[in-house]
């Protein structure tokens, strides 16, 4: 019977053309190794489901690194432990492909532990064939996370000790605690009866994927005579007598009936739809303006706006720059960022210029807005001679010391408070800037607000604040 099951399926190459050595018909696995048997069970299922053309098998790092020699399917070889992440990429790119991640215990349960956990938890619609041989076969028999207590390996020469290496990881039990997986089972390949069950489990797992039900995994206890330093017969016996005790066989989770299939929509969007989604379907408005009408010192202004976080200094800068752009100028805006951002203060640098802006950094502003006292203390000295300091007298308790600059004291917070919201103090200042300097027009500023302000219902209040700021400065 066993022979019957293991006849070569069509999706298993007859001649291993990718195998570099002269022998193109025998696998590279050791005599008595479980991988070969498991390969054939897998190939047979793929064949019977008629899915070879759309199947992609992932060859991991481990003895099955050359799985791609054997499967007449799409093949992808990957880094150690990363198969579930690569499978995720493959599957998400082409959801109708059948993606099978084939992994050893070191690969899956050690180096790739988080990758398998997360893919399982996402309910990634892939199938994992997990070959548990309680050892690192490929590298010559070191301890695996599944190595049994007391088991001797080259890195546990005195036997695995719980106190030092911990306990064998039970992947099926672990993953069954998650909601994501739809099917989890553990099988073996020690005799025709267990092979038969494993064969069915593999099919069930693949079927779950074909039906878009989500993550499925079959763990298979597999002999590694070379790694275990045993004969093939001893190895089989050891699986039956030792491994099964720690790794009981059976189905750990099966929600294939209850689970709703994952729906995929694949449609190409038109250029118009893409532009609309990105907000690129309309031109920015344009407002005419001439820097010649601006006093020379404020032309092509370099502006620094500073205050407490929450005073809207970033938004004020953003609105100014947006308005500048809508007037056809080069503009730049940078937020205070990194070391500058301490103690809850925020500032931004804005430039509006008729020519290309070289450095967007404003070290020496021609216009400084100080919304609070620390801002004035910190930046007053940097202002260029003849520059302008607008300071919020509601919070700034002193006038600038400089005598070579112009300044506008404005109780922005109080004005905003009277309008009904402290939040619009920034817009009161914007009004002051517009009235005093004319670097942007009120019209452009209001248009900019439409782009910059997220909640449109606040726009009328913002406009009122701009007008109040202008009026205050007009009456100074």
């Amino acid at each position: 019977m066993a022979k019957d099951i293991l006849s070569t399926p069509k999706s298993f190459y007859k001649e291993f053309f990718r195998k570099p050595d002269a022998d193109k018909t025998n696998t590279h696995y050791c005599p008595g190794c479980g991988h070969g048997v498991i390969h054939k069970l897998l190939a047979e299922a793929i064949e019977d489901f008629g899915i070879a053309d759309r199947t992609i098998i992932i060859s991991p790092v481990g003895c099955s690194v050359f799985a791609y020699y054997y499967f007449d399917t799409g093949n992808v070889q990957v880094a150690h432990g990363r198969a579930p992440a690569v499978a995720t990429g493959l599957k998400r790119a082409n959801p109708n492909s059948i993606v099978i991640s084939y992994q050893g215990d070191g690969d899956l349960a050690a180096i790739g532990g988080n990758n398998i956990l997360q893919a399982a938890n996402r309910g990634e619609n892939i199938t994992v064939i997990f070959v548990n041989n309680a050892i690192y076969g490929m590298t010559g028999g070191q301890m695996a996370p599944t190595t049994l207590i007391g088991q001797k390996t080259t890195t546990t020469p005195y036997g695995r000790a719980a106190a030092n290496e911990g306990y064998p990881i039970r992947i099926c039990e672990l993953l069954s605690a998650l909601s994501g997986p739809v099917y989890l089972a553990r099988g073996a390949i020690t005799d025709p009866a267990t092979i038969m069950k494993t064969r069915l489990a593999i099919r069930k797992a693949i079927k779950a994927q074909m039906d878009y039900k989500g993550f499925s995994l079959v763990e298979i206890l597999s002999p590694c005579p070379s790694g275990w330093r045993m004969t093939p017969v001893e190895a089989k016996k050891w699986v039956k007598e030792q491994m099964v005790k720690i790794f009981p066989l059976g189905t750990f989770k099966d929600e294939t009936k209850e689970r709703e299939p994952i729906a995929y929509e694949k449609r190409e969007y038109t250029k118009e739809e893409i532009k609309q989604a990105l907000g690129l379907d309309k031109e920015a408005p344009h407002f005419s303006h001439s820097m010649d009408d601006v006093k020379p010192i404020w032309r092509n202004p370099k502006i620094k706006i500073s205050g407490f976080g929450g005073q809207g200094v970033l938004l004020l800068g953003n609105t100014l720059a947006e308005a500048g752009m809508e007037q056809g100028y080069h503009v730049s805006w940078i937020p205070s960022y990194g070391p500058e951002m301490r103690g809850g203060t925020a500032n931004c640098h804005v430039q509006i210029s008729t020519s290309e802006i070289a450095s967007p950094v404003v070290d020496h502003p021609s216009i400084l807005v100080a919304m609070n006292l620390p801002s004035l203390d910190r930046f007053e000295d940097d202002v260029v001679p003849g520059g302008l300091i607008i300071y919020n007298t509601s919070l700034v308790t002193r006038a600038p010391k400089r005598t070579d600059i112009e300044s506008i004291p404005i109780p922005a917070t109080d004005i905003a408070d009277k309008l009904g919201s402290l939040k619009v103090a920034n817009m009161v200042v914007l009004g002051a800037i517009i009235e005093k300097t004319g670097i942007v027009t009120e019209e452009a500023a209001i248009s900019a607000l439409n782009t910059v302000v997220k909640h449109k219902k606040f726009i009328p209040l913002n406009i009122e604040a701009i007008k109040s700021g202008r009026e205050y400065v007009r009456n100074l």
Binding site: Q77, L90, S97, M325, S332, Y337, V361
Partner: protein, 355 residues
């Protein structure tokens, strides 16, 4: 098409979508998070896919999978995340997979800080992962270039089947500037990648792989890769030259530093100092020839390189200049951005001492 006043990081996302990026996998990190957030917001609106990976290690491997499956795919991070992605980048290079990676650099080493720095140059331009590979590295210095060079990155990655990095800094990522967005690329007209594994009959015999057991075979594969890098060096060098015609002092930098340097050049020119800037837009391939040419010019007295690092790109300038002219370096680290006046002072000091 439409002009928008937009953050550099958001310009990356929109540029990527216009270039036909179909999937994004990434893990959040300041100052690159707006890219993940923007991708999460916009990709689903146009039928594309976003997934927050469990780590940078996983995210780049998800890209490996999606690229192997023939899709245009992107990930973004900053220094600590790039360190983790190096494994995947090496595999992508070895398996010849076109993946676009954005590195918005921050201060290091270790956790460092979230301020802009340029300390990732060596790990990105010189490798960082294992093996004899290179990645194409593009270095934007404005929001416009964040869009344009991201779009170019997708074209070059596909053209050469190679991972391509857009190497930028927190400053350029966080800065807002107007961007003129081009028309979306027509994905439907793109040629099917005949080497990829789509999970269909046509591509069933394809293999994505970087393992070659036989040393002779692996050497041949490496030679193939090296030949590709040579072609890239031949064809894809990009730079900006600014006021170099009569320059006696050649300054150079990339990213935000090149903007500050430009300000310094303008200032010095006003004072009659003959200084110009050569700004690499591609860090690999590096504009070696252009530097070498300038080094040969009798007018040119010395080179001045500034970076927000301990001096990494300057080594490429030195290799290109081959000791024909002095190459001076001025660096700031930890997130400190040099000012226009600071660089001016340094250059004038050198001008004095170089006679």
């Amino acid at each position: 098409m439409a002009k928008q006043f937009i953050k550099g990081n958001e310009a990356v996302v929109k540029g990527a979508i216009l270039a036909g990026c179909e999937l994004y996998f990434g893990y959040p990190i300041t100052p690159a998070s707006e890219i993940a957030e923007g991708a999460a917001k916009y990709l689903p609106l146009v039928g594309r896919k976003f997934l927050q990976g469990e780590s940078e290690v996983a995210s780049i491997q998800m890209c490996y999978g999606a690229a192997g499956a023939g899709a245009r795919v992107m990930t973004a991070s900053s220094g600590p995340g790039l360190s983790l992605k190096q494994e995947g980048i090496s595999y992508c290079a070895g398996s010849e997979l076109p993946v676009v990676i954005i590195d918005v650099m921050r201060g290091g080493p270790g956790l460092g800080n979230i301020a802009p720095e340029q300390g990732d140059y060596n790990q990105i331009v010189k490798g960082g992962g294992h093996g004899n590979y290179k990645v194409i590295v593009l270095a934007p210095n404005s929001a416009q270039e964040m869009c344009d060079l991201t779009m170019l990155a997708f074209e070059l990655a596909d053209k050469y089947r190679t991972p391509t990095v857009v190497l930028t800094d927190g400053f350029i990522g966080q800065m807002m500037e107007p961007v003129d967005f081009p028309e979306p690329k027509d994905i439907s007209r793109r040629k099917k990648k005949d080497w990829a594994v789509f999970g269909d009959a046509e591509t069933k015999r394809n293999l994505i792989n970087s393992i070659y057991l036989d040393p002779a075979e692996l050497e041949a594969w490496n030679k193939h890769l090296q030949e590709k890098y040579r072609k890239i060096e031949e064809n894809e060098v990009r730079f900006e030259d600014y006021k170099l015609d009569d320059a006696e002092i050649v300054v150079s930098g990339y990213g935000i530093v090149s903007r500050v340097l430009k300000g310094t050049v303008n200032l010095l020119r006003e004072k009659g100092v003959k200084v110009g800037m050569l700004r690499p837009k591609t860090l690999f391939p590096f504009p070696k020839k252009k530097f070498a040419e300038l080094a040969e010019k009798p007018d040119v007295k010395f080179f001045f390189v500034s970076e927000m690092s301990n001096g990494q790109m300057v080594n490429d300038v030195r290799l290109s200049v081959e000791f024909k002219k002095p190459v001076h370096f001025y660096g700031r680290m930890g997130g400190v951005v040099p000012t226009v006046n600071e660089l001016e002072r340094e250059i004038l000091k050198l001008k004095e001492s170089e006679g």
